[in-house]
Each structure stands twice: as structure tokens, then as C-alpha cells.
């Protein structure tokens, strides 16, 4: 069996195991709906002030995408690793030709597909139910590698949490504790201008996702505010490709560390 054959076998098994967990599937796709309903429709955005969300609706699109790219891989892969540990599955896999990197890659592929679908659902809901618009251009195709890199990165972090947490519950709790601050301190829903200057948002990998996606979906959109455009495209600001490059390098490093850290037994 070639590497691709092993990957296909692992990916099929992981996909089936996930897709047949109906509650998990439902909430994976329901989660973006909840987010859009609460923040996009109920709270709404008022660029003139007076709302929790004071920027134009399109500015928040990267934030919504970040929610699914961040939360789902973190909690899913973290709990999957913990589940594998509890069932001694890594011990068995260690005696098969499937490497730890191949195992993690298969999990990542499943997450990319699931989160890609959830992301499309979310974008559709945003455009259909809020005033957000997305700039359509050839550059928008870069959204795909952004999602892939983001998912791979957070699959790596989730895997590390699952490796070092002492239980599945611990992995999920750790992923939530990590995801929440990352979500709000990475220029997703809160502009950098509202965050303390000393806060090193550049240390958060999600920042590069949010900045890059915003440059793709918002910076060219009609109605984008000049002030915010300046922060997205101004001098010294990384372009979308550079943001993608940073995100990809971080993803590769974290993926490699996570794969290396996966346990054989104890």
C-alpha cells in the first residue's frame, strides 16, 4: 500500500467516524449559524457607533470564518487524540506502516473538508442575512489556502492539547480556554486600534489569518472605510500572500511538532 493508500484508508475511517456522530456534525454546522444569528443579525453592526460591533459588516467576515477555522479543529482533533490515547489506538498504529504524520494529515484533511463546507455555509448566510458583502475577485481564490493553512495549524495545536491533556474532557477544556482569547485578541472581531498597544497580537497565528482574509474579502469591497482600508493595505502592512506565507510556515511547524509529539503508548 502506498502512502496515498494508507492516507486514504485513514481519511475514510476518520470521515466515517465523524460523519456518523450526528450530534457532532449538527453542531459543527449549527455553530456558524448561531454566530451569524447572534452577532450578524441580533446584535448587528452600526458603523456610526452605538453598537458592540462598530465596524462595517464586511469587516467582520474574517472573524466569522476564524470562528470555525479555530474552534472546530482545536476541539475535534484534541478530543480525537485523547480518544485514541484512551483506546490504546496509537499503540496499535505504531506497529502499522501508518506514520504519526500521516495520521495527523488524514485528520487534517477531514477537518479541511468539514470546515470548508461550514465556511461556505457561513459566507452564504452572512451575505444573505446581513449587509456584509464580499469582494469577488480572482484573489478570492486565496481563501482556500488560507482555510487549509489555518485548519492545519489549529489541528496541530489541537493535537498537542490532546497529547498532553490527561483526558478528553481536559483536552476540550484546554482548547476552549485557548480559543477564546485567541479569537478576540487576533484582530478578528476587535480592531487593533481598540486593543492595548502593548498587546502582541502578532504572536497569535489567527491574526495572520484575519488580516489576510480581510485583505481578500473586505479591502476591495464596495463601501469599505478608508481608515480600515489603510490598516489593511497601508505601508508596512503585510499583503495577503505574505500573511498566507506566515500562516503556512506556522502551520507546517506546529503540524510537525504535533505529529512528532503524538504518543506511541504512554
Amino acid at each position: 500500500m502506498t502512502r496515498s493508500g494508507r492516507l486514504a484508508a485513514e481519511t475514510r475511517a476518520a470521515a466515517k467516524a465523524f460523519l456518523r456522530r450526528r450530534t457532532a456534525v449538527f453542531f459543527t454546522f449549527f455553530f456558524p449559524v448561531i454566530i451569524v444569528v447572534i452577532f450578524g443579525i441580533l446584535v448587528g453592526t452600526q458603523p456610526t457607533g452605538g453598537s458592540l460591533f462598530a465596524e462595517p459588516p464586511g469587516w467582520y467576515v474574517p472573524g466569522y470564518l476564524a470562528v470555525v477555522v479555530l474552534f472546530t479543529p482545536l476541539s475535534r482533533v484534541g478530543s480525537e487524540v485523547a480518544r485514541h490515547r484512551e483506546g490504546n489506538r496509537f499503540e496499535k498504529l505504531a506497529t502499522t506502516p501508518l506514520s504519526r504524520a500521516e495520521w495527523l494529515l488524514a485528520q487534517t484533511v477531514v477537518n479541511v473538508v468539514v470546515i470548508g463546507a461550514a465556511g461556505l455555509l457561513l459566507l452564504g448566510l452572512l451575505v444573505a442575512t446581513t449587509a456584509a458583502s464580499v469582494a469577488v475577485s480572482p484573489a478570492l481564490a486565496l481563501l482556500v489556502p488560507f482555510v487549509v493553512a489555518g485548519v492545519a495549524l489549529f489541528c496541530g495545536i489541537g493535537s498537542l492539547l490532546g497529547t498532553f491533556a490527561d483526558s478528553r474532557d481536559g483536552a476540550i477544556a484546554a482548547s476552549n480556554s485557548l480559543a477564546l482569547p485567541l479569537l478576540f485578541l487576533s484582530e478578528t472581531f476587535v480592531p487593533a486600534s481598540l486593543l492595548p498597544g502593548w498587546l502582541p497580537t502578532g504572536l497569535s497565528p489567527l491574526t495572520y489569518f484575519a488580516r489576510g482574509v480581510r485583505q481578500l474579502t473586505y479591502a476591495n469591497a464596495a463601501g469599505a472605510s478608508e481608515t480600515l482600508l489603510a490598516t489593511a493595505r497601508g505601508p508596512g502592512v503585510l499583503g495577503p500572500v505574505a500573511n498566507l506565507a506566515v500562516l503556512s510556515v506556522l502551520a507546517v511547524v506546529l503540524f510537525a511538532v504535533a505529529a512528532r509529539s503524538l504518543p506511541r503508548t504512554d
Binding site: 500500500m1 466515517k16 467516524a17 490504546n88 496499535k92 506502516p97
Partner: protein, 354 residues
């Protein structure tokens, strides 16, 4: 060539010695059973042998360190293994088969372990025994040269166990080396070419079951119970018997009686006018050997019960344990369904317990 060579293998966890200087070798095509109670170090030794944990000492599988062995050649069933949820038995076996260059037809493997009829059931819906048999199938699917099974029959009903034993014997006859751990003594005795007895991380004896029983198992015992003490001229009867014997508390214990000698004892008792309620004959087995060497008896749940007799593994001497059967009062819990109950005295001569 040896399939497995282990020399002075040790493993310590946070100061606790799990495996302590174990050395053994297993021939190709041999069935080797590692026997010991829970906590004896069986699983840790399996992990050392398969390269899934760090260890001190030397291990070679077919002449190579475990992690350098072609993984197509080994099949492993870990202890307490639970595969991916929501997959059927058929899908699970196919999944593990898909990880190898060459794998057997999953349907044939499932048939081998008696799971053909239940292969469509998702793992969670299977009985405990069916789950375990499915797990065994995942270790067989790559047709390995070395099959390592860590407690493969836990929770499997007696019929399923015998079917698995037959399967392993067939595999070994075809050249597969089988290394199995168990806390079921009768399983090791019936299945294995050689047995290793593990206690407190140390291998206290390795040999063929018959050889171990002959060397350490003691003698067969004929117990005559329910004797009317008032009607017994104990001295005369004991003198007439051709075997060493003792009488106490209404029981006459005659030692070293082979089956063909039982009639002589019965005739002697009849001639002396001795009446009794029951007569039972037991021969020594691996449990006696383990008791002799470690001072521990094993419950069917795999727990060790210290009898206070026998020697510790460290001494290496072989004083005979005093109490023959007083600790064997356990009853196994069978988690398989529909095939009867499973008790600790299966396959044991009648009247093993007093």
C-alpha cells in the same frame, strides 16, 4: 532464527519497576504465552517487545530492533484496545487492512474469528466478546509473521476462546509466531508451546507447560471426603494404602495417585469398611506452578491473591505452597452474550475445589 529475543529488558515508571531484567526468546512458529496477574508487567513487556515504549536492555524481532522491523510483519492487539467508534466490524477490519501493502480479505479474517455473521454491526452494538474478536481480526488482517496479542480472550465466551485457540494453533502451524499474554492459566496450558510466568515484573520460569508442571506442580491428589471418623481405623487404612496419605477433619488425602491407581485406593477403603461421601482426584497444573513459585494464586479477573506460602520470585527456591485450593473461589464474569457462562473451573478436572 528466533522471532523474539529479549535480553535483560527493564522498564521503570516514575520509580516503579514494571519490568525487571526479563530475558527470553521465542522461536519462529512457536506459541509463547506470558502469564501473570494484573500488574505483573505483561503489558509493559509487550510494549517493550513491540517498540511502543522505551526500555533498557536489548530486544530484537527477527534480528532487528522492534522499531526497525518491517511493520508488515507484525500484528498487534494491545490490551484494552478500543477502535474507532461508529464503524462496523467489517469496516474496522478493512480500515486496518488498508494500512498495509498486502492484506487479507477482511471477510475471510472475520470468518476466522467467528464474526462473519455479525460483521455488519457497528462496534458499539457488539457484545464484549464480539468486540474482542473484532479486535483480534484487526491484528490478523495483515497476515503477520509475528502476532502479539495482549489478553486477547478477556471477555470472550468459552466457545469463542476455543475457536480462537484453534485459529492461533493453525496460524502457528503455518509458521506464524504467536506471543500471547493471559491471566487464564488453562489458556496458556492448552494453547502454548512454552509459557513464561511473570510476577512483579520478573520472569520466574519459562518452559513447556508440562515441564513446568512436572518440575514445580507437585503431585496429584486424591481426596476422600465425608468419611465417618468413628468407623475408621485410620492407622490401619493408612498403612494399607500404597501411597503417602494423611487423614484430618473427615478428609483422607492420598498423594501421588495416578488415575490407574484410584481403583486400588477404592478397593482398600472398601476392604476396611470405610464409607465416604465423595472422592475427587486432581492433578497439578500451571496454577499450582505459579502458586509454588510466587506464593500467589490468580483470580479469574487476573488479580493476584497472596497465599502467604510459596517463595518470592527473588529467592528462586521452590518450597511447596501449603494450601492446595483454598484461594480458588473466584467466578469469572463473562461479558459475551448468548453462549453461556464462563467460570473459573472450566476445563479443570471435576472436584478441583473442595
Amino acid at each position: 532464527m528466533d522471532a523474539i529475543v529479549a535480553e535483560d529488558v527493564s522498564r521503570t515508571y516514575d520509580g516503579t519497576v514494571a519490568v525487571d531484567g526479563v530475558s527470553l526468546s521465542v522461536d519462529e512458529g512457536e506459541i509463547f504465552a506470558l502469564v501473570g496477574p494484573n500488574g505483573a508487567g505483561k503489558t509493559t513487556l509487550v510494549r517493550a517487545l513491540t517498540g511502543t515504549t522505551e526500555y533498557d536492555g536489548r530486544v530484537e524481532l527477527f534480528g532487528q530492533p522492534p522499531r526497525e522491523l518491517d511493520r508488515e510483519r507484525i500484528g498487534l492487539l494491545p490490551q484494552d484496545f478500543t477502535p474507532a467508534e461508529r464503524l462496523s466490524a467489517r469496516e474496522l477490519v478493512a480500515y486496518y487492512g488498508g494500512l498495509y501493502d498486502e492484506a487479507r480479505d477482511p471477510e475471510a479474517v472475520l470468518a476466522d474469528v467467528g464474526m462473519a455473521a455479525a460483521a455488519a454491526g457497528t462496534y458499539e452494538t457488539l457484545s464484549g466478546g464480539q468486540q474482542r474478536r473484532t479486535c483480534v481480526a484487526t491484528a490478523l488482517v495483515n497476515d503477520p509473521d509475528l502476532l502479539v496479542l495482549d489478553e486477547p480472550t478477556t471477555g470472550v465466551d468459552p466457545a469463542g476462546r476455543r475457536a480462537l485457540w484453534a485459529l492461533l494453533e493453525d496460524l502457528a502451524a503455518a509458521g506464524t509466531t504467536v506471543f500471547v499474554t493471559t491471566h487464564y492459566m488453562e489458556e496458556a496450558e492448552q494453547l502454548a508451546d512454552r509459557v513464561g510466568l511473570l510476577a512483579d515484573g520478573q520472569l520466574v520460569a519459562v518452559d513447556a507447560p508440562d515441564a513446568l508442571v512436572a518440575e514445580y506442580g507437585g503431585r496429584s491428589v486424591l481426596s476422600v471426603d465425608g468419611i465417618d471418623e468413628g468407623a475408621l481405623d485410620g492407622t490401619a487404612v493408612l498403612a494399607d494404602l500404597q501411597y503417602p496419605a494423611e487423614f484430618a477433619d473427615g478428609r483422607l488425602t492420598v498423594r501421588n495417585v495416578q488415575p490407574e491407581g484410584i481403583a486400588d485406593v477404592v478397593d482398600t477403603l472398601a476392604a476396611a469398611g470405610v464409607t465416604y461421601e465423595s472422592l475427587t482426584w486432581t492433578e497439578p497444573d500451571l496454577e499450582d506452578v505459579y502458586l509454588e513459585l510466587t506464593g500467589q494464586a490468580l483470580t479469574s479477573g487476573g488479580e493476584a491473591v497472596v497465599t502467604g506460602s510459596g517463595d518470592s520470585p527473588e529467592t528462586g527456591t521452590s518450597a511447596r505452597a501449603g494450601t492446595e485450593t483454598s484461594t480458588r473461589t473466584d467466578t469469572a464474569t463473562d461479558t459475551d452474550t448468548g453462549t453461556g457462562t464462563d467460570t473459573d473451573d472450566r476445563d479443570r478436572p471435576e472436584g478441583r475445589r473442595p
